[in-house]
Symmetry: C2
């Protein structure tokens, strides 16, 4: 045994390992979370440690610079411990505390549950494992190894069309004989066919995990799912690294057109790999036991994921390269799971209504419900779907990332330290943060609450303008007004947490775009908001929204609160349902093919509707009668 | 224009080409056949030319040695002509005249015809091309490019399950728009599914070629087939380069077990690539227009082709890795055709009865005939099948390569210069050669004729022993007897063409193995040779056998000649039928699954039968009554 001493910035951790263990393994045992984007293959440089003292065996240096190697940096995954070792773990190598906070949805969605109505799907994971004991060949039964295996698989499972690649066929004979004809076959559904993805010795059928991914324009969320128990094990999220190339999909498509799509493609692959690494590390799941990935997201994000050309999505008539891509080998995309593993993409409705909405409709059971529903998915784009099991119509409104916390002065993603709820009473501000610690910033739900409370307290007017005469907390800085919600002395970051006049205006623009879009879609069918039995609000805000405050903001129409339901990140819920049930994926295909898309641009009154919705709650107060009454204000 | 002067060993050829043309293109225009194993990719070294003078632009040197480059050798495919050039074409670079002789089967089998009975299959090539003009997208019809293409394909052809790889999906949008939505789709059948293999601009549907391959233990035969007209364009054959690792499959499996299978795999791939290169060069077919390859052969050869482990074929209970491998991408195997092209393998019956026999049964229509037939496929192994449309039983007998001309002192493959027929009258020897030139050696049919004639002329006895007292042509050399058929002065090679005592003994062993095998199989079912309405003799002898002489040899039983039919190389005929007709490939699958295999080793009297058949025509003359009568000899 050898002793490894880890020097972290705030503490020292010691552990004992077998000689020959890697530093990455030692860190794992010690509960030190370390970045490892390449999955321990020694080809990136994210798991770098600094050797202070001791006996090690160095391996490849990956992307470390010459200078770093000379200074004593090594890749933890490639460095073996030969004797007692002292190592420093640099800050950038460690996974941040905030980053590893479990997405609340992950814990919540342990069962497949549709918003409001339960919908049941038969459990049949897209990738499944079968333990098989084959009879040995004899002169009376000397079928080829390939056919012998097929015969056994078919005796256990209905797989009319079974496909196998050449490499598998080359390996099967030896695997069968080395394991006394007792093996586990991993089978992946590829549309109407089934592919034999892996054959391994012994019974590994108890270990089968999947990854559900929601690729948002601003946020990437990943859940780890146990495919045997159908339970969500853990979740993780981060900002989409593509954001440096533009906040919205249009700018990213233009970037791809000008510079090529490869960079955007590899950024999203890296994001997903990083999140998967975090999850398997934290939950001690073997990478080889992850056999499938199901990805949801808007059409542009899914195109970048697959490196499909997105150019024609942004131009009329908004044509995507593929609305229904087939399952792809994870290795072909560079997603680091089992080498035979498959990546599924939730089918898309159109260029501007993606797989996230297909997944949302599935998760809410809209496609099976008699009730007339309105689904609003609030992200960087706001997508709106109305209908029931017989018909569905959708549109998309460009909201911008205001609701995802990015762009705002003190905005942040819904993770540890984010203010998620705000109330104001007689000038006193109460708030709660995710993880209950000191605040670092404000996430989407906190921003909605805050603006609603500012309006209720009359600190902003119907146009959202801050009135410095109403509060000491309103100040002028760099030529613009801002409201100080938490003074720097009480924050984690040592800086004031504020909402600026432009922040408020961005939020109003975002809500106006969505409200106007929903209103136009509904009116075009001769309907009114009150005709809907339920309004489902989806989005990755990090927490449930205060329904009343969304109405004060004018985001959600003034209908009885009991009809409004916050359904969380339905994109990832739907992706997970597909991962766990072939029937659910089949339903996604039917949904994607049946939903009609309406282009808002073709409605000449969209701009007027949008401008009218830029007020709190709306220019036309008759549309928000109970809010108007509640606020009891002269307007 | 630039003038290129080629110096061949026997002549000078001049041509004019555009500046920038390669030397390989210049040679092609001039009708100079050149080896080009890698297909002009500059990675092998087979197309080497020696520059004598002139202006050229050199490219990569491939496998040329440093010395060769210094001496002025270049790769013809990588060297551009910039001005007038003089080049020497070395002998080893040129494709031999003999080598380019068209296999007679190739010309003969322009239609699918079963031996004796015509069997019709619907023309539906395994890989087909469709020219499609797609409607441009509009706001009312903005399906994704992927779905738009599928919709159009399905309007033209019934393809319930259509699959497409990621790379294709990435390329389709640009190809569609660059070609004004008019494209040609190449579709490949993959079992019950169809794969979109290629999408190219414009209408290329008129250019679709396939390659049929028969991989024999000793000889590899390749035919080029026009998939639109169903006509065989040309054929080519060569010895299997694996022969240096053993004449029979057992020795090659042992070699693979000891040294790994890669060498045997790459030898057969190189052989096929070389033959394809010759065919496309000679017929001016573009490599890209070859979309499919169908391979037949014995089980071991097909395993080496796919690099599947063959170890367990040779050990009881003779289990193959796969009897029915799926279609494989040509690029995965390194076979150089269209990069999306597919390689199909004719399904095998068992470890010792391969795809060549499945193809043979198909070609002869045995699986559709009411008649009781006996099919004998004579190659390095002799396979025997008996039965009709209701049942079929097969066995395999190890013959050795005697009938393929290899191993014998003056033996050669059936190609230009081979003696294919021999008659002797009163001591005078008449013979004919393939191509009608001076003889270079004797092929299988010539050896059979010669031995039969020697026996008729009493120059050998019933055990095959040469009697030097009977003829001046029989002489002693290096301690063994031999018969001089053609003196060196009359041959192409300047050497005597002879048959030695061991050659005769090898031929007797080969015919004994096959006759004994057939006899045992038939007896085991309580049948006799006379019960068969037809005896079909298959094999790549290069020419029709003289039926009577096969009976004198004792290879074929003494039944009325009209029941004996020489059906040629049915392995390649069947492979070609599969290439041209999905229905034929489906029939192959049914055949492979329904034929029963009998192991001759399990019959204790096999050795006795074999020994009894080592005589001319047989120990038991009562089995050959008409032969005995004809020869009118006291025995």
């Amino acid at each position: 045994m050898a002793r490894v001493t880890f020097y972290l910035d705030d503490k020292i951790v010691e552990t004992e390992v077998e000689q020959g263990a890697t530093l990455l393994e030692a860190a794992s045992i010690s509960g030190i979370y370390v970045n490892s984007n390449c999955g321990g293959e020694g080809i990136c440089g994210t798991c770098k440690f600094l050797i202070k003292d001791g006996q090690i065996e160095r391996g490849p240096a990956g992307l470390l610079t010459k200078e770093e190697v000379e200074e004593g940096y090594v890749l933890a995954c490639q460095t073996k411990v030969l004797g007692d070792v002292k190592v420093e773990v640099p800050l950038e190598t460690r996974i941040e505390e905030g980053q590893i906070l479990i997405d609340k949805d992950a814990k919540k969605l342990r069962t497949i549950r549709a918003g409001g109505e339960e919908v049941f799907f038969t459990r049949e994971p897209l990738v499944d494992k079968l333990y098989l004991e084959l009879p040995k060949p004899s002169l009376d039964d000397n079928l080829s190894d390939h056919q012998r295996l097929y015969r056994k698989i078919r005796s256990k499972k209905k797989v009319p069309i079974l496909q196998t690649g050449l490499t598998m066929l080359q390996e099967i004979p030896t695997i069968l004989r080395d394991n006394q004809w007792a093996i586990t076959a991993t089978l992946g559904m590829m549309g109407d066919t089934t592919e034999l993805l892996q054959v391994e010795g012994g019974d590994t059928s108890g270990r089968n995990y999947g990854i559900a991914v929601d690729i948002g324009t601003s946020t990437v969320v990943v859940h780890l799912v146990n495919l045997n128990s159908s339970k969500t094990v853990d979740g993780e999220a981060k900002y989409n690294s593509q954001m440096k190339y533009g906040e919205d999909v249009i700018r990213r498509i233009i970037h791809a057109d000008e510079e090529g799509p490869e960079e955007l493609h590899s950024l999203i692959i890296d994001d997903i790999n990083g999140l998967i690494s975090t999850l398997i590390f934290r939950n001690k799941v073997r990478r080889d036991d992850i056999t499938s990935v199901s990805c949801s997201g808007n059409t542009t994000m899914l195109h970048f994921l697959l490196n499909l050309p997105a150019s024609w999505i942004r131009k009329t008539p908004y044509v995507s390269a593929s609305a229904s891509p087939p399952p792809i080998k994870a290795t072909e995309l560079g997603i680091k799971i089992n080498k035979g593993g498959l990546v599924y993409v939730v089918p898309m409705i159109g260029g501007w209504v993606g797989g996230d909405i297909t997944a949302g409709i599935l998760a809410c059971g809209m496609d099976k419900s008699e009730k007339l529903s309105l689904l609003i998915d609030i992200g960087t784009n706001g997508e709106i779907v109305i209908g029931n099991k017989d018909w569905m119509i959708s549109c998309s409104a460009s909201a911008g990332p205001a609701f995802e916390g990015t762009g705002a002065e003190s905005g942040m993603r819904a993770s540890r330290g984010a203010v998620e709820h705000v109330t104001m009473n007689d000038g006193r501000i109460d708030y709660s943060t995710i993880g209950d610690g000191k605040p670092k910033g404000i996430c989407g739900s906190g921003l909605i609450d805050l603006v609603a409370e500012l309006f209720k307290a009359e600190l902003i007017d119907r146009r959202g303008a801050l009135d410095p005469r109403k509060s000491d907390r309103i100040r002028e800085r760099d030529g613009q007004s801002e409201f100080v919600m938490v003074p720097g002395s009480k924050t984690e970051i040592g800086k004031d947490i504020v909402i600026t006049q432009p922040d408020i205006e961005n939020l109003l623009r975002a809500k106006a775009a969505i409200y106007a879009g929903a209103n136009i879609l509904i009116k075009s069918l001769g309907l009114e908001f009150k005709d809907f039995e339920r309004i489902l609000i989806a989005g990755g805000f990090g927490s449930y929204l205060d329904r009343r405050k969304t109405q004060i903001l004018g985001l959600i129409p003034d209908i009885p609160l009991e009809r409004i339901q916050f359904v969380g990140n339905t994109s990832i819920i739907g992706a997970k349902m597909a991962l766990l049930s072939r029937e659910a994926l089949d339903a996604c295909h039917r949904i994607a093919e049946s939903v009609t898309y309406i282009d808002l641009i073709s409605y000449p009154n969209y701009y007027d509707e949008f401008m009218a919705a830029m007020f709190l709650p709306h220019t036309d107060l008759e549309r928000f009668p109970t809010i108007t009454q509640e606020l009891s204000r002269e307007v």
